[in-house]
């Protein structure tokens, strides 16, 4: 057994099966779902960290499930980007799990409706662990139909999590989210069907090696891209995101904005990595234009919002744009481009999750999240406000945060390739982010003392986990070489 763990390749499958097991246990132990939930999160975190360590020490690899080689069987693939995403999910996921424990306990303690909060927690843990397993499965999968199954798992569990809050607005948002997700999944599946028709294989690496621009492949790429853009909420398809993310429970908002969006984008990236040399300038530029519009439009909308969680949700719409403006830059330098965008993804994930967690803490303490009425809340919750501000710094791209490193890499790429309009978009996006974040932070940190000074009702773990995540986002500004080394490990 020990020998198996040390020598075998089973590290690849553990981040998928451990949360699945945790989900089943937390569903079964409905009197105490928190214990198996947090335990499952902890174990998954360590399994993911072990996978990363294994990758760095032994290099990447593939794992043939059931011992069947592709094209017959399904394989998992571990390379730098995949394991980095698994690791990012582990870090953010562990913080969110710790937060969620305190969050539900505080809610159960706070008001009279214990039954309702208990029922929410009872559903939260299985859904969240299933979502985690599905995300890990998605990152590691090398089989395009398997990706469809994990996409559906992700979609259904995130819809369930969105609807968990029970507020009328969240139900409507969840319904819309579900319909959009189903449309995206079906579009993806039709694309998979076209690819299978041409290539007779479901293995992404085999398909990528034999890719051409036959009509069927073009249609497949269009269908897959549109389906995944719907799920990632790139600009014209972003309409479902703000209500769904802003009206969910606090840990759920962090999960949706910090992790789920990245999952769909990651698949998009994997598909485009292969075709990018084929499609030429036009398609990549189109993606970048959409991304640029998303950056500006999302920032403008975020500036207009009156509620803190809506502001953070629209800032996600804006940040998604950065994930897509990389594609024209990747044509000249694929490695540097991938490094920049993955650096952006991980720092955004930590920062955004920290901001949503902090906003949720404020909401729970104050009872609302109207920005103009949050004056002076820092006196009550200093750690939380600090976490929010720190996350904001990373979004703006100010040193010494991870966001700064990512944007620096973006800019140096864009300047060296003389794409001045991209430089302008990145700079403008950062300035706009500074404006809307300062607007919120100015209220939170204002010296006036008009906010409620009631007894602190939130658990300490909520404050500390948000702060830890924000600190990780900042720490990413110092460990750049380490992360870049991980990204460059080949599969």
């Amino acid at each position: 057994m020990i020998r198996l763990l040390l020598q075998g390749d089973c590290w690849l499958i553990l981040p998928v099966i451990l949360p699945l097991l945790g989900a089943l246990l937390s569903f079964l132990l409905k009197k105490q779902p928190r214990l198996p939930g947090v335990l499952g999160a902890l174990v998954t975190f360590f399994a993911s960290a072990a996978l990363a360590w294994k990758l760095v020490s032994h290099g990447g690899g593939r794992y043939y499930l059931g011992g069947w080689q592709p094209p017959l069987g399904i394989s998992l693939r571990a390379d730098g980007p995949a394991v980095l995403m698994v690791l990012m999910t582990a870090v953010t996921g562990l913080a969110v799990s710790v937060y969620a424990g305190g969050y539900f306990q505080s809610r159960i303690n706070k008001r009279g409706e214990e039954q309702r909060h208990l029922a929410q927690e009872r559903s939260f843990w299985p859904l969240w662990l299933l979502l985690w397993a599905a995300l890990n499965g998605m990152f590691l999968s090398a089989d395009i139909f398997n990706m469809y199954v994990t996409l559906e798992l992700v979609a259904l569990s995130s819809v369930g999590l969105t609807a968990l809050s029970g507020k009328p607005a969240s139900q409507v948002a969840a319904m819309r989210y579900l319909l959009v997700s189903l449309l995206g999944s079906l579009s993806f599946l039709l694309g998979v069907a076209f690819l299978y028709k041409v290539h007779g294989s479901l293995d992404l690496l085999a398909i990528g090696a034999a890719l051409s621009l036959a009509p069927a492949v073009v249609m497949a790429m269009v269908l897959i891209s549109v389906g995944l853009m719907l799920k990632t909420a790139l600009f014209p398809f972003h309409f479902w995101l703000p209500p769904a993310h802003a009206n969910a429970l606090a840990p759920v908002s962090a999960i949706l904005s910090g992790l789920v969006i990245n999952g769909a984008w990651y698949l998009f990236f994997r598909f485009w990595q292969g075709v990018l040399p084929l499609v030429g300038e036009g398609a990549a530029t189109l993606l970048a234009v959409l991304g640029g519009v998303a950056i500006v439009w999302g920032a403008y909308q975020a500036f207009c919002q009156q509620r803190l969680k809506m502001l953070v949700a629209y800032s996600t719409v804006a940040q998604i744009g950065y994930l897509f403006i990389i594609f024209p830059l990747m044509e000249m330098g694929p490695e540097q481009g991938a490094a920049a965008v993955f650096y952006f993804v991980i720092s955004h994930s930590c920062a955004k999750a920290a901001m949503f967690l902090a906003a949720g803490t404020l909401f729970l303490q104050v009872g609302h999240d109207r920005i103009s009425d949050l004056d002076g809340v820092r006196q009550v919750l200093p750690k939380t406000t600090f976490a929010f501000a720190l996350g904001g710094l990373s979004l703006m791209g100010l040193p010494p945060t991870g966001g700064f490193i990512a944007k620096y890499m973006y800019l140096s790429q864009a300047v060296s390739q003389e794409r001045w309009w991209l430089v302008a978009v990145i700079v403008a996006g950062s300035c706009l982010a500074a404006v809307y974040i300062c607007r919120a932070v100015a209220h939170i940190l204002s010296p006036r003392l008009v906010a409620v000074a009631g007894p602190v009702v939130v658990a300490a773990s909520m404050e500390w986990s948000a702060l830890a995540l924000a600190l990780v986002a900042m720490l990413l500004g110092f460990v750049g070489p380490l992360v870049l080394h991980l990204i460059e490990v080949a599969g």
């Binding site: 139909f145 469809y148 199954v149 559906e152 979609a155 259904l156 819809v159 369930g160 609807a163 009328p168 139900q171 409507v172 969840a174 319904m175 579900l178 319909l179 189903l182 449309l183 079906l186 599946l189 039709l190 069907a193 299978y196 028709k197 479901l202």
Partner: protein, 106 residues
């Protein structure tokens, strides 16, 4: 080019996908949107099975397995969608009642 049954059914599958898409975008009722999604799914499955049919000599079982998986996934998501639609409708109903009550009292 000779039109085989595969082509006819494949085109029908694509057409069903489009019809379902039209229903999803244009219909107003939630229940009908969910029906439309199911029609889209059927279209995709039909297309997949035509791929398996190929030229009718050697049937490829992999798309069949994919469709079987897809059918179970789609029934699961349909159940979720219907439960959620019920909640949305119930909420609208409750809100109407509340409004009526408020109007009656005020």
């Amino acid at each position: 080019m000779i039109f085989s049954p595969g082509h006819v059914y494949g085109l029908t599958g694509l057409l069903l996908f489009i019809v379902g898409l039209a229903g999803l975008i244009l219909c107003a009722q939630l229940l009908r949107k969910i029906l439309a999604v199911n029609i889209m799914a059927s279209g995709v499955f039909l297309f997949l099975v035509t791929i398996a049919h190929g030229n009718g000599v050697l049937i490829d079982p992999v798309p069949h397995a994919m469709v079987l998986t897809g059918i179970v996934v789609s029934v699961s998501s349909t159940a979720v969608a219907l439960a959620l639609a019920g909640r949305v409708q119930d909420m609208a109903h409750c809100r109407d009642l509340l409004k009526k009550k408020a109007r009656g009292e005020g």
